[in-house]
Every structure is written in structure tokens, then in C-alpha cells.
Subunit: 345 residues, 4 copies
């Protein structure tokens, strides 16, 4: 069975596991105050060029978004996001469960347009409405698209004009920053946002997201919120050890380069075979218009997500590569797609 379901199907890159094994019997204080966490946080701060950043190592993405946003917002304040934003649909109302409205803007490609920030603010004008305070974007987005430097700068400018904080969900940040279409660095991400997170779970470690807070106004009692929201890991060292590996010698980016290469190979192959893409993607998510009969047979040999019907005759299929995807698997998948194209087209 081929596996293109997601980028968290395996455990961790062997190098990560080795580090966990090597440090296993060390004795450390709990809750993320150990030497590995400290060192990992130092490595991250250096790499992003922000010595004064506050960094917290957390376990999972929904947890990180929830902790960040419920910490940044006062009860009557709201966050602006596209309707495709992970917080909008795929977190079971986690943000609303902390009491905050998400102002959702329409989107096809997952990218928030600067003028949508104006629209959200202009339609929330007094105390009978929530007060927009944070802009949430994902890079890479939920469709695999990415923000260019110009786009991110334009959003930053709007946020400054409107008195908003900019928070970037980086569950797939590594993929965004190492794909062909990218013109941003992680230093620029850090310079242009008020807070963002560096995703580890989808980039080769067992679990872990590094929440980075740049704006001093937002650095308040985060550890209290982390504990209260169930995000404080007793053996925090596990996060420290893993992020040390990721941020030693840019292993973080090395992993995602492979991920992106595999998707590039896959996409060019798919296109060459005459399949249509549902939407353009720059990173490791590929959305394909897959004829129903092909889906019927392919799904018995390959795991992938059948997102939803595209039209009467086709489904939207999502193929995802990861640090662990072998080139042979991409080639096998392309071979299957080639065969079925011939048979069913």
C-alpha cells in the first residue's frame, strides 16, 4: 500500500529518535525548564535572528493556536482568518471554545488578501460587535499555497494601520520556506509577525511546535496559559531534544527540501499525464481532479484523502508527501496513475 495520506504517517526521522534514546536516562526538571529546552530555544532565537523573542515548545498545532490566540485576545476581541484557515474549520471550534469569534473571510486559495483586513475592520465598528484584534494566516496555507514577501509585507502594513497583531500558523512553515516559489526567510517571518509558530510534527519529529512571540505586548504569563490549557508536558525535555536536532545545522530545512522535491516530482508527473489540479500548490499538498472510476481502483493501492466530490464525475483527491516519502513511492504512484489514465480515460 502506498501512503500519500499526510505528512505525519511515520514516527520521526531516525536522527530524532537517536537523540531521544541518547538522552533518555538523563534526569531533568520537568515542564520545559530543562537544559535541552533552553538550548533548543537558544538555537531557534539565533536562527530567526531575534535574541529577545520568547519561545515556548508545545506538543500540537490546535493546542498552539488555542494557547496563542486566547492569550493574545481579550474576551470581546476577535481574530480575522480566511474561511479555509485551520482555526476556522479544522479545530472543532477550539478558538470559539475559549470565547472568541473568528471573523471568516471568503477564500479559494487560502491566502488572506490585505483588503479583507479592511473589510473585516470596517464591518465591526462599535461595541455591539466584536473588536478585531489579531490577523491569523497560515504559511504554507491549507491548500499548499504560500505568502510572498510582498504579500506578507502588505498584510503587516494593514495590521499596523488597523492596530492588529499578526499571527502566523507555521504548521508547514518549513515547506513554505524551502519551496521553489518562496522568497521569504525565517528571519523575515520573525521580523514581520507579532507571533508565529514553527511546526515540527509535520516535519519529521514525533511531535512539537515552537511558539515564537516577538511583540513584547504579547509576552505575558504564557506559561500560566500553557498549563491551564493542558499544553505543559511533564517531560518537556522531549520537546527540547527534538527541536535541538531540528535547529542544529538547519536539519529543519533539509527535511522539508526533500518533502517539497517529492511533491514537485509528483505534480509535474501528474500534469504530464493530463490530470487537472484543483488548485495550484507550491508545497507538499497536491489537490488532483480524480475521475471516479480511477479513484475506485487507486484507493485500493494507495492511501490519500478523498476530500470531497469535485463534480459528478470526479473527486478532489489530496496527495501529501513528507520527509519520509521515498522517491520510488512517487514513481509507483505515477505509474499507477498513468495506467489508470489509459484504462479509464
Amino acid at each position: 500500500m502506498l501512503y500519500f495520506m499526510n505528512d505525519y504517517s511515520e514516527g520521526a526521522h531516525p536522527k530524532i529518535l537517536e537523540a531521544l534514546v541518547a538522552t533518555n536516562m538523563e534526569q531533568h526538571v520537568g515542564y520545559g525548564l530543562d537544559a535541552h529546552c533552553e538550548n533548543a530555544i537558544d538555537l531557534i532565537k539565533k536562527r530567526i535572528g531575534q535574541p529577545d523573542a520568547e519561545v515556548h515548545l508545545l506538543v500540537a498545532g490546535t493546542q498552539t493556536n488555542t494557547i496563542a490566540l486566547c492569550s493574545f485576545l481579550r474576551p470581546y476581541e476577535a481574530v480575522i482568518s480566511t474561511e479555509l484557515g485551520h482555526i476556522s474549520v479544522h479545530e472543532t471550534g477550539a478558538i470559539e471554545a475559549t470565547g472568541h469569534k473568528i471573523i471568516e473571510m471568503p477564500s479559494k486559495d487560502g491566502l488572506l488578501k490585505p483588503e479583507q483586513i479592511d473589510k473585516a475592520c470596517d464591518s465591526h465598528v462599535d461595541e455591539h460587535m466584536v473588536l478585531p484584534r489579531v490577523v491569523y494566516i497560515s504559511n504554507a496555507t491549507e491548500t499548499g499555497s504560500i505568502y510572498t514577501k510582498a504579500h506578507l509585507e502588505a498584510i503587516r502594513k494593514k495590521c499596523d494601520q488597523r492596530g492588529l497583531y499578526l499571527y502566523l500558523d507555521g504548521a508547514r512553515l518549513a515547506n513554505a520556506l524551502t519551496c521553489d516559489d518562496n522568497d521569504l526567510t525565517i528571519e523575515e517571518i520573525a521580523a514581520l509577525t507579532d507571533a508565529f509558530y514553527i511546526g515540527g510534527t509535520k516535519n519529521g519529529i514525533l511531535f512539537g511546535e515552537a511558539l515564537v512571540i516577538l511583540n513584547p505586548e504579547l509576552k505575558s504569563h504564557l506559561r500560566y496559559t500553557i498549563k491551564q490549557r493542558g499544553g505543559m508536558l511533564a517531560k518537556g525535555r522531549l520537546l527540547g531534544v527534538q527541536f535541538e536536532e531540528l535547529f542544529r545545522d538547519d536539519f529543519f530545512f533539509e527535511l522539508s527540501k526533500h518533502t517539497n522535491e517529492m511533491s514537485k516530482l509528483l505534480r509535474s508527473g501528474i500534469k504530464a499525464l493530463g490530470y487537472d489540479l484543483v488548485t495550484e500548490s507550491s508545497t507538499n499538498l497536491t489537490f488532483v481532479v480524480l475521475p471516479n472510476p480511477i479513484h475506485a481502483v487507486l484507493s485500493k493501492e494507495c492511501y490519500y484523502e478523498a476530500e470531497k466530490p469535485f463534480d459528478e464525475n470526479n473527486i478532489e483527491a489530496r496527495f501529501v508527501t513528507s520527509w519520509a516519502t521515498p522517491k520510488e513511492d512517487v514513481e509507483k504512484l505515477l505509474k499507477l496513475l498513468a495506467n489508470y489514465k489509459k484504462i479509464y480515460a
Copy 2:
């Protein structure tokens, strides 16, 4: 100065005040357990033809919506509403503040289409998303439109198919049920919904909304929720006395008949003068495309809400009538609009 700002500009109809004065020195137990509340609730249950309904007399609309919805929903459940629903925009995120997402569907006229219920359910399919559980509609809507019997029955049917509760916000229910376009009775409203509220504040009393719960599944510990959410009035008798007046001899509907007549007069006059309406309305809200120069002068002689720009040359103006609107005021407003039309058109 003319007043077409809203339907809560005055205190209460004199008959209501008289009843409050007449009962003032009676001594009653607090918190809505007094004889007036009991009697008012009996009158309401009889009038709607639902002897087994559970009725709670509350102070205000946002409070009522919040108490109802946070009582009906479990933490992971959500409410479906149009994007124009009062809960969606005009309650400062009150529903989200209780932890629940509002699934907002696009709308121009404020009426939820049955197929939008399907759409909301079909796009929330597993535990990574909230679970739709309540459908929220307003009658009359926030734009002054109303639900026909066929429309309400279609929504009821969808709710039954989808396992959803139907909750109707009746802040302006009296207006809906007494306008020319209406074909629904209050008995039918009660028969077709799981819960609804009967708005008093906007129909002639000082304050008060009667929350009616029909579905036995939803009748659980409401008084706990009311107290917790700050909705339990110490001198609950004030609500009892006022609703007794409203539901004695259908005074409730008598008040709104006048309201609607005044708006009908106003709308026909406005159309006759050649002004355009932003949207059709059946009840007491009239949205007019008002040229900017006319707005500039008219707003010095009449209070009304200047909702937002309609286009470069016009604003959207909202004119509201109430039980207290004198016919002469409507005539004066029409005269002003006639004059300005001549001067500025």
C-alpha cells in the same frame, strides 16, 4: 426632531406603566416565582396553544439568545445562522463567549434557505469540526423580511432530517405576525419550532422577552442557566406584570398592528416619491437609498440610522416605526423627503 431611529425610543405604552403602578406595593417573592409571572406564563401558554411549554420571562434579547443557545448546545456543538443573524454580528460575540461557533451562511434578505442547512451539515462531517445542532432564524428578520408558512415548514423538515433543533428569535415577532405578507400564526410558530422567544422590548413594554421552550429535550435546568448568565431579575414580577398586559386581549398584536401600519404608510409614500428601497421589507424596518445631500439635511431634522454607504452618492438609511409612532410624524417625514427630492434630485 422626528424619531425613526428604532422601536425602543420611548418607555412603555401607558397601559403597561399603569399596571406597574397599580401593582407596585404588592409584596412578592423574587426571581420570577411570583403570581404575576405565573399568570403571564399561563396566558402565553394558552395563547400559543401549548399547555406543556416551559416559559421563562427574561429582560433582554442578547441575554435571551445567549441563555437559550448555551443551554441547548453541548461544548462541541454549533448553531447555524445567516450572516445577518442578530447573533452573528450584533451581539459582540455573545454566543462565541459561551464557547460555541456560529456557522454563518451568506444572505442578502436575512432569511435562511433550507438548502443552506444541508450545506452547513455537509461541510461539518467529523470530530475535527464542530457539530451543527441548532438552527437559528429571526422572524421578522434583521432586514424586516418574514418567513412564510411554507418556508418555515421546509426549515422544520430539514431540521428533522438532520437532527437539528430549530430556535426562532422573535425580537420582532409581533411585527412579523401582523404584517400584510404574513400567513403564520403564533400557534404555528410554537408548533414548528423547538424553542422561540416573544419579544416585548421592541413592542411596547419597558423590557422583557418571553423564552418559550417546546421540545422536552431542551427543558433542562433553565433557571440555573438564567441565574448563572445574569438573567434572573430580583423583582421578576416586573416582567410578569408587563406580559400579563401584553397577553390579555391580544394587546401584543394590537400594538404591532399600528407599528406595521405606520411603516406601510411610510414605505408606500417613499416609493411614490421615487426613492429606491435597499431591500424589500414586510414589517417595520425600511431601508432606503438616500442621496448624500438629502442625508446631510434630513439628519438634522430626523433621527434615523445611517447604516452604511450604499454607493458613492447614496447612503443606506434605516427608518423604523413603533407602537408609539404618531401618524403625523410619518406624514412630516414624507413631506421632508418630498421637499428634498425636489431640491436635490
Copy 3:
């Protein structure tokens, strides 16, 4: 039937009703932005000697406490109160429902001791525990006791040392400030607290509590929170008109003087008859040790609260006077108690 159940058994003092009738047909903007609210707020600010205070007129006590505390506290912060505090027991977890822990300190008389503030702070020392931030006290307390000036100053000092805000629940503030044992003025209350509220519901008006915020750090977006928490009255003018009456010519204090006199008369009579008090009270709540057989007969002629068993042979009975209690009723009650004492003792 005699009525010593509570201080909100009647409607309002006739003077209040007259003002509501007199202003009834005036047309005003909604939501507390009208001229009566403005004027009432000015009168309050003058009376308390705090021209820069922020004042909000709200409907009810639980609502006021909830809005104040959820506005003052960040999610991980907590409020310190005695275990008898109204917020601790009698508000159905309203504060917890906004996400905040109440750190409850033991108490018999309802008065928080300054050293209990130290104890609460010393037992909450890091991010695994909530962060104490507000001290909540009631004056008069739930047992009828009051804070002396020295006591309030000592609590203020502790709050300053510990970085805490001081919030005073004044549901029965008028009673506290006009009783014989009192040595505080309302100006001093305002000078010593960060915020407090002036209770109207239990002192002669239909409903209404004036939330007064002194500390500029706490004056942030209150109207958003009020709207979100269901506390914004459409016809806010009703609150304005009533508080205008209360704060014109110190009518507020005149009402409570009568209340206190009636309780003083009652208590001295009760003691003279040889009944024991459960606890000393300075204001309008009197807790009496009432033999069971006397309770059995008295409760058929007089409404009062039978709080709980005192011991096997007695109950704790609570007798409350109000602005509306006639002297004759106190005398009738004392006569009954005298008779039953003879019969059953």
C-alpha cells in the same frame, strides 16, 4: 401576612415610579447613551468625589459582578473572596462560567481579613496555580456586617503590597453607609477601591446597579463586555431616570436610613424578648435562632427565610427590612414573637 423575606419584595419607591411615568414618552437613543444616563452618571461622580470615574448603569447584581470581574481578570487570574461572598455561593458559578477561579477563604461573619489576602497569595506561587489578581469584598456583607474604615484601609494596603485590585460589591452599600456602626463615607469607598458598585435594586428602585471604576487600568472596553454579557439594556434610560432620583438630594441614603431603623427596632425587640441572634448584624439582615415550634406557627403569619437548621431544636431565620417596611409591621412581628415565646418557651 407580614413580609420580612427580603428587601426587594415591592416594586419601587413611588417617587421613582413617578419619574419613570413623567419621562415615559420622551424619545431617547438606546443602550445607555441618553441624557438621563449621562446626568445620573454625573450626579454619581460628583457625589463620590471622583470626576474621572467611569460609571456604567447595569440591571442586576450577578450581572454586575460578572461583567466587572471578567473584565478585570485575564484568563489565568483569580479573585479572592470569603466563602460567604455572594460570588462564591449565590451566583450559580457565574464567575467560574467566565473561566475564573474564586479563591475562597473561610469566614463566619462575611468579612475578609487582611491576612487572608496574604494566605491566598502565598499559596499560589507559580504557573501551576492561578494568579490572584482581584480581592472581592461586600459591604454590607451577606451576613449584615460592615467594614470599618480601618479594616478597609488595611485591605487596601495589602492589595497594594500584593499587586491586587480591590473590588467592592455594594448590593447593600446604602445600608452599610447609614447604619450606626459605620464610619465610612461613599467618598472614602471610592478612594479606597479600584472599582465598586452602588446597589439600587435592594434600595428602592425597580432594578439597577451602578458600576463605578476608579482605576484607569480597569477602564477598558467595558461597553463591549456589557453588551457581550447581556447587560446592555435597550431602554437604558430606565436606569438613568432611576439613578437620577437616587442621587438627587441623597435620596439613596434617605431610603436606607429607614431600612436600618426598622432593623434596629426589630433587633432590639428580638433581643429584649430573649431570642438569640445567630450572628451580629449592623444593617438590615437579622439572623435569629428560632425554636422549631415557633417557626412552625410564625411561618404561617410571616414570610421570612428559614436559612437552615441551627441545631436540633432551632432553625436560623433571616428577617430583612427595606425602605418599604412599615413600623407597624415590625411591631406586629415583635408582638407575635413575644406571644409565641410565652407559649412555647
Copy 4:
């Protein structure tokens, strides 16, 4: 440096790590729906003798308590706990952050007395107060004490009489069930509670707690709540693999037997040396009255928690053993304590 700080100072038992390494490159669906989770859950259900139990594998203790309780309780309902309960003090108000009050009962030994359940229920009698619904106990408790079978049965009986659910926090359940004073089995725990959790983090795995729900009334949409509260691990298989190891051949209990033996050795040694215990303990927490001068020197050679001052001359020191504590370390610690006793006593 010796380490008696806590039972989560190391990573995991080597056997656990080996299993994670061995299964690392397997490809699995995410979010706990994989074969390892299924198998682990089967093993647990068999071991506790409850084929119909619902089991969820979660990451951490505060997370588990929060998810369980906010799922079991309706907004106006509360949980009863001792004041020493982990949820009462050491989870930064996590339960209150989901909107629920904890009714805290006084305690020295961490064990809830059956009559305290009566007391909590009897003092919460109407809708002005929260409604007690869940009883929370920990076994072993936060002081190291344990529930006997008779005690647990008495609590179960009270819960049945009062209509309450019984939830047991088993962060240190393995220690409770394998200590000398214990007379309960895990099957009995499962038979006597409505839900409980089996703690892994403090018993030899990297992280993980298994929430077990026995009462069908509580088995509703847990996966929605888990996702919403940030507790759904993308690579859920990590939990499955670890719990498979724990529940294969009772490795779970084997680990805690060692833990308890080390504490027993330590306690008998400490007592023999003439030190006083703050409180009796049956399991792996030992609270010692440590003279200040001894603490001053010992704390340079050994990590342990200096809980708080015991009196002017002593502190309360907490020594914890774990699956990883070598016998030699206990002996070294006892030797130090013996030496210092001679020098400073």
C-alpha cells in the same frame, strides 16, 4: 547529584523506547485511529474486565482531567474535590477555565470522606447555586495516601444516593494498586467508578494517560471534545505503542512495584534515623520534616521539592521515587541524612 524530585525526571523505560524505535517507520492513520491504539485499548479493556468501556489515549494529566470533566458536566454543574485535589490547586484553574466550579472540601490527607459529599450537596440546594454532579478523587492522592476498598465503596454508595458521577484521577494509579496497604484491584476500580484514568507519564512511559469511561451516559462525542481541547495527537500511534507495552504482561504494575519498594526502603530508613514524616504515605511520595540547616546542605547534593515551611525550624521536603530510581541512590540519600542528622541535630 541525587534526584528525588519527581517521578518524571527521566525519559521512558528502555523497553518503551525500543517499541517506539521498532515501529517508527510504520505508516499509520493519524489521530489515534491506528492499529496500535486499537490494540492498546483492547489490552486495557481486557485487563480491567470491561469489554464495553470506552478508552481514549491522551497526552497529559491536566489535559485528561479537563477533557473528562468538561465533557461530563453541563455548564451549571460542578465537581466536588478535596482542597488538595490536583484539579483544585495544581492545574492553573483549568477546570474553571472550562466554566465549572470546583466545590473544595477541607483535607489533610487528600482523601475525600463520604460525608463530605453529603455536605457539598446539602449546601447547594437551588438554582442560585451550582449543581454538584461529579465527585473527583485521586488514587494515589496528592499526599501519597490511598483509598481502601471499603472507602471507595462508601463513596460509590454516596454518589448513587446523590445522583453523582464518580471520576478517579489515576495519575499514580499503578503506585496505589501495588503498594503494601492496597486492597483494591484495577478491575474493582473500573467497577466502582463512572470514569477514571490510568496514568502513564509518572509510570515509565514518555507521556500518556488512558481515559476510561464506564458509564454509558458519559460516552458522548469524546473525540470532539478531545480535538477541541487540543488533546488529539496527530501521531496518536505513539500513545498506542506505549500503552501496548504497559499492558502486555502487566508491565504497568511491574514498574510501580519497584517505585513503591524504593519509597518503602526510603521511608523506613528515614524513620529509623529519627526524622518525622509530615503525613503518612502508602506510595511513592514521602513528606519529611527537614531541619533548615540540613536542608541547606542536602539541597546541594540532592534534588527534591522543598514544599513549604513546616515551622520556624523545619521545612516540608518531598522525596519521590520512580521506576528509574536505583537502590543505590536511596542508600546514598539515607547515608547523607544519617550524616547530617549527627552533625546538625
